[in-house]
């Protein structure tokens, strides 16, 4: 599956892009994060959450939707 990974805030500064397309075999959020952290080691130093189907998910969530977002701490308002 081709995933569309979106990066926000400080995470987009680390990846130097706001989104990218990544080929990913079936798996969990944790497995995807391992791939991303290999590509962007600095991600490991940051606090963030992962959204899948517009909900915050845990690492053992199985990815079934192509859109994944990496969200730093919220600071609206």
């Amino acid at each position: 599956m081709n995933l569309n990974i979106k990066y926000f805030g400080v995470l987009a500064e680390i990846t130097k892009c706001s989104e990218e397309t990544l080929s990913f075999s079936e798996g969990t959020v944790g497995e995807l994060l391992a791939v991303l952290q290999a590509k962007y080691p600095a991600l490991g130093t940051k606090d963030f959450q992962v959204a899948h189907k517009q909900e915050i998910v845990t690492k053992d969530t199985k990815i079934t939707n192509p859109e994944i977002a990496l969200l730093p701490p919220f600071s609206g308002g």
């Binding site: 926000f8 977002a69 919220f74 609206g76 308002g77």
Partner: protein, 147 residues
């Protein structure tokens, strides 16, 4: 979750005081309303390690944020007996002294509006993927974290 249409809460740039006044005016034909409560978040010129904030640049995961705003709206109507609720949040640059968040709740009677207003604002702060980049007067920046 209801099937109501998800609204776009975002406004490009600051929310003007006139926009807030006009929003109040629009409710004056609703004669069952007895109490309005409004929250307006204003960008502070915080001083951080000797540097002063001059603006906040807001970005958001918009689709998810609008879904979350919608869920907050539904939960608030479920928990409090309100007549109306409106939420607006800025995207892009909002200078210090300008307004970046406007929450407006109305009800027949006053008791619920204070609790409802606080509930909505706290839910937004906790659950909506909006990100503020604090721009300092020297053009450096840092990413804001809600407290």
């Amino acid at each position: 979750m209801s099937e109501k249409k998800i609204k776009n809460v975002f406004i490009e740039g600051p929310i003007s005081s006139q926009f807030i006044g006009d929003s109040i005016a629009k409710h004056q034909s609703k004669k069952a309303i007895g109490a309005h409560a409004i929250f307006a978040g204003q960008v502070r010129a915080d001083e951080i390690e000797g540097k002063t904030v001059s603006a906040i640049e807001y970005s958001a995961y918009e689709e998810m944020a609008n879904t979350k705003f919608h869920e907050i709206r539904e939960a608030t109507f479920g928990a409090f007996e309100l007549s109306c609720m409106h939420i607006y949040h800025s995207l892009g640059t909002v200078a210090t002294g300008e307004i970046c968040l406007f929450v407006f709740v109305s009800a027949p009677r006053r008791k619920v509006v204070f609790k409802a207003l606080e509930f909505v604002v706290e839910e937004i702060k906790a659950n909506v993927p909006v990100f503020g980049k604090e721009i300092f007067t020297d053009e450096s920046h840092q990413w804001k974290v809600n407290s």
